[in-house]
């Protein structure tokens, strides 16, 4: 039995465990008591992490679509063909692009970025989850500077107050939820902000009810109440508070909000956990900024037991950002137009970099003629999934590098098989900024190669690669390209688990603008009296690591079998009044269009709200349009 320490591939908590292998095959997972994040416990996903790589539909040999069928070809032929076709498109002046992934390693993402910028000479590079987390990260960045201050996941257990705006923490980030439970058990006040009475909300000292898309109103209420009580920490952010106070004058403060504000401000240690939210237009970014201000003016940044933690869904979201598989950044998450950073990367790559920002994932899919997708599956991640699928179907030349046969891989013109997380060396960066090693436990199946190797070979065909003999070589270069990662290789090699934290943020860069507290106009009207919101919790059911795991996929499979057309959720009172619930069909109508879907009753929802789980968002895409929350009319169909 082989026991290999590695990093969990699922959410961005970044737990560690031992993968067990027998006769070259993955057979199980054993927990570790010494891992700095997981310290002995794992969530259900972690416990079944070995399954997808073993049981999944794997890509095993390079395949090219020719004459309407998939032909198995040699690696050289496949890579030459891919490079040739991409060059043809570029030479014909057609736009091309690259998608990295929050499921890919830092090395894979870094080389995907290098392929796009140095090889294809385009900033059309993004990853599917980026549009979802981008407003959240932008809001935090606006207040905290480039690197958000993070609280360590395990430090949350020592916080006295925890403010949590969540999708469903127990489901999305069980390890972080565990730390919250431990704090609450010790007597911490948990304050939840949200529209559902989730498991965490049931354990909270206070649950502050918010309307979908308007969580910011509650956060601004907390800011206003803190200023009312004069509890701001003037030494933490030396700004004129009068302007901020004026801006918040009209914001509603309930008794509960005042109580919560007092707990937050008077606590020595307070943790702020924020998940990507839904909302119209720029609202999610403003909400995140308000949240960041709250932590800043109460002085709860970057000290033990205090800090802000953006709850990013997938394992390597932070790494994908740091590696700059985003259209307007350079490695290190530096702005594209930062002269020093441009020079640094140009010198390193020996190529002039394109200067115009690229398209973000959604527009990119609509506009490019050639696309390289690295371990990403846009239809399962992007808010308008089917729209993305249809757009990909129109792409002239689609290349997919993946370990699994995803819906995207199925329609690709070239499929390049790469190693799964259990078969490759590399690093990932969790949401608290811990860079950790992945280690190869078994060989990739068939002719599959490690992702960094395949990308390096593609880069070489565009005269855009150094020669790498290992993933460590790529990681060393990342240290030169992204200053935060400088010296990391040494630090990882000194740590038994192969992990090290990125440096924390620079307190001097705190900026608290008073702007942005204006309330959101009510969306509902007499004609459209209900709010339909798209649940923002990440849909794990369509992720290959879950959908290919026999143990983890059961719930999702069963639900989809029972409700092949999806469903929306509403509270019992509303359902009774409309004679709905129990899967009865309802017609939803909004200004965008209409859809007929089954309705299920949920006990944790408030009247006037309809929810569509992320997995079924496409069933009501006519109704939602491009919004994540919209006003609707509902009636029995």
């Amino acid at each position: 039995m082989l026991t290999v320490p590695t990093t969990c591939p699922f959410c961005s908590c970044g737990c560690g465990f031992y993968l067990l292998a027998r006769e070259g095959q993955l057979v199980g997972v054993a927990p570790s008591e010494t891992h700095p994040v997981s310290g002995g416990s794992l969530c259900a996903r972690g416990w079944s992490a070995h399954e997808a790589a073993l049981w999944g539909d794997r890509l095993r040999q390079p395949l090219l679509q020719r004459n309407g069928k998939q032909e198995s070809v040699s690696w050289d032929e496949a890579l030459d063909h891919v490079a040739g076709r991409l060059k043809e498109l570029v030479n014909a002046g057609k736009p091309v692009g690259v998608l990295g992934s929050s499921r890919a390693t830092n090395e894979e993402n870094y080389l995907a970025g290098r392929l796009a910028r140095a090889g294809l000479q385009t900033n059309n590079v993004d990853f599917s989850y980026h549009p979802i987390c981008r407003p959240l990260l932008a809001g935090l960045e606006e207040v905290h500077g480039k690197r958000a201050p993070s609280i360590r996941i395990n430090d949350i257990a020592s916080s006295q107050v925890i403010l949590l705006t969540e999708g469903n923490l127990a489901e999305t980030h069980p390890r972080a939820a565990s730390s919250v439970l431990k704090a609450v058990e010790k007597g911490a006040h948990l304050i939840t902000v949200g529209h559902r009475k989730t498991q965490m909300a049931r354990l909270a000292s206070l649950h502050l009810q918010a309307t979908p898309g308007n969580e910011g109103e509650v956060i601004n209420g907390l800011l206003a109440a803190i200023l009312d009580l004069g509890l701001q920490d003037r030494t933490a952010v030396p700004i004129g508070y009068d302007a901020l106070r004026r801006d918040l004058e009209t914001v509603k403060r309930t008794e509960e909000v005042r109580q919560a504000a007092e707990w937050i401000a008077r606590a020595e240690r307070a943790a702020f956990l924020i998940a990507p939210s839904c909302g119209q237009g720029d609202q999610p970014r403003k909400d995140a900024a308000a949240f960041a201000k709250l932590a800043a003016i109460t002085g709860h940044l970057d000290k033990p037991g205090s800090g802000v933690l953006p709850l990013l869904a997938r394992g390597n979201v932070r790494g994908a950002c740091d590696m700059a598989v985003v259209p307007d950044r350079l490695p290190g998450y530096d702005p594209l137009d930062d002269a020093r950073s441009r020079q640094r990367v140009q010198d390193l790559w020996g190529k002039k970099l394109p200067s115009a920002p690229g398209w973000s994932a959604e527009s990119l899919l609509q506009s490019v003629s050639g696309l390289v997708v690295v371990a990403d599956d846009p239809p399962s991640v992007i808010p308008r999934g089917q729209h993305a699928m249809a757009a990909m179907g129109r792409i002239e030349f689609l290349v997919v590098l993946d370990a699994f046969i995803t819906p995207t891989a199925r329609i690709a013109h070239a499929r390049l098989p790469i190693a799964s997380f259990a078969e490759t060396e590399g690093t990932v960066t969790n949401m608290e900024g811990r860079v950790q090693r992945l280690r190869a436990v078994t060989d990739p199946p068939g002719e599959a190669r490690t992702g960094w190797q395949v990308l390096a070979e593609l880069c070489a065909r565009f005269d855009a690669a150094a020669s790498y003999s290992s993933a460590s070589d790529v990681f060393r270069e990342i240290g030169q390209a992204a200053p935060g990662y400088a010296g990391m290789e040494q630090r990882l090699s000194e740590d038994e688990w192969g992990g090290a934290l990125l440096e924390t943020f620079d307190r001097a860069k705190l900026v608290v603008h008073p702007a942005g507290a204006a309330g959101v106009a009510a969306l509902t009207s007499v004609e459209h009296p209900y709010l339909l919101a798209r649940d923002s919790a990440f849909d794990w059911g369509h992720d290959p690591l879950v959908s290919f795991s026999p143990t983890l996929s059961r719930d999702y499979r069963s639900e989809r079998k029972l409700f092949p057309n999806g469903f929306v959720e509403m509270c019992k009172g509303d359902a009774d009044a409309l004679k709905l619930g129990g899967g009865r069909q309802a017609r939803l109508t909004s200004e965008h269009g209409e859809a007929v879907v089954p309705v299920l009753v949920r006990t944790d929802l408030k009247p006037g709200l309809l929810f569509v789980p992320y997995a079924y968002r496409d069933r009501v895409s006519n109704v939602l349009g491009t919004d994540s929350v919209t006003a609707v009319r509902i009636e029995r169909a």
Partner: protein, 346 residues
């Protein structure tokens, strides 16, 4: 009959065992964890160690357990059982784990007997190391599964300083000693009484965790645990299944066919009764759809009089692993205390 072996001779004994089978023993990983693992040399074995978090039940119930190979042959399917006949020695298992494997074997011997399990367990010799110092979270004294054992082992070692006392509990244990007969001598009366003194001393060094099963059992068996209490407790469970997966006495599984080289390998996969889909039926109906119902079921199986009567033991060996592994706060001692007191976190 008790024997003794000098400490410096143990390496030779292990070398003999390595010649005649696979030896699984606690080793220290470079990351600092202690794990039960197949050893290549006697030097790898650690002797002074906290009980590894991952239990050695892997020796009899692997997480992924291939049972039969199914191959299509024209209109028919050929089914070929997969036999794991490897002779294994589990060395330096702690008392609770030896008892755990004995418990699992009793469960799998029940009709209909599980041939696949029994083939493995029949080929497994459990050589346990008695616990002179109970582990900080252990409460095996509440479950009659430690710190020293009077049954449940094939051979039990006790550290006497210069030598180990070796008690033989079965023919398999005798055979393991016979592999290196000349290394063992008959234990002296002094050595036997020293073991008794060590056991007595160990009994006084338990930590704070206790589990008063008897009074919890009365309440669970007679349905006197209010539903509201289960509901309240279930909010403190994050449904990781860790309690089941590391429990030395849990043996729930599911079955799945793995496609491999044109054949299918039917595998038994370790499972958790705490997972929502564990009891999910093909129709979509789930008799235990709510977490509180699953939790109630778990503790009914573990501590009810009905199961105690059938199994001759509670479904717990007091190893304390669930305390460490629980992502929430609903481990065995916490829930048993709540059942006994009728309240949770108050």
């Amino acid at each position: 009959m008790a024997f003794a072996i000098e400490k410096k001779a143990v390496t030779k004994w292990l070398e003999k065992l390595l010649e005649s089978g696979e030896v699984i023993a606690p080793i220290r990983t470079p990351c600092g964890d202690v794990l039960f693992s197949t050893i290549r040399s006697a030097e790898q074995v650690v002797w002074d160690f906290p009980n590894p978090l991952y239990p050695p039940k892997e020796c009899v119930l692997p997480q992924t357990d291939p049972i039969v190979k199914i191959r299509r042959n024209g209109q028919h399917h050929e089914i070929e059982p997969i036999h794991d006949g490897t002779r294994r020695f589990l060395f330096n298992a702690r008392s609770c784990d030896a008892k755990g494997i004995a418990f699992l074997t009793r469960m799998h011997e029940m009709e209909p007997a599980d041939a696949s399990y029994l083939r493995r367990s029949n080929n497994l010799t459990v050589i346990s190391l008695a616990c002179a110092a109970p582990c900080p979270l252990g409460f095996c004294i509440c479950t009659d599964s430690g710190p020293f054992l009077s049954d449940g082992y094939d051979a039990q070692l006790t550290d006497l300083g210069e030598s180990y006392l070796v008690e033989v509990g079965s023919a398999k244990g005798e055979a393991a000693l016979a592999e290196a007969q000349d290394l063992f001598r008959k234990a002296t009366e002094d050595e036997v009484s020293q073991r008794k003194r060590l056991e007595e001393a160990a009994r006084h060094h338990f930590g704070e965790e206790t589990c008063h099963f008897a009074s919890a059992m009365r309440r669970v068996s007679t349905g006197r645990v209010p539903d509201a209490l289960w509901e309240k407790m279930s909010d403190w469970c994050l449904e990781c299944g860790g309690c089941n997966l590391v429990c030395p006495t849990c043996y729930c599984f599911s079955v799945k066919d793995l496609g491999l080289d044109g054949a299918w390998i039917r595998c038994r996969l370790r499972d958790s009764c705490q997972y929502a889909a564990f009891t999910l039926e093909a129709s979509g109906h789930n008799p235990r759809a709510q977490r509180k119902d699953r939790m109630k079921r778990r503790f009914f199986h573990k501590v009810s009089a009905q199961y105690y009567t059938r199994d001759d033991a509670v479904g717990c060996v007091g190893c304390g692993r669930c305390i460490k592994v629980c992502l929430g706060t609903t481990h065995m001692p916490a829930v048993v205390a709540a059942i006994r007191k009728g309240k949770w976190h108050e």
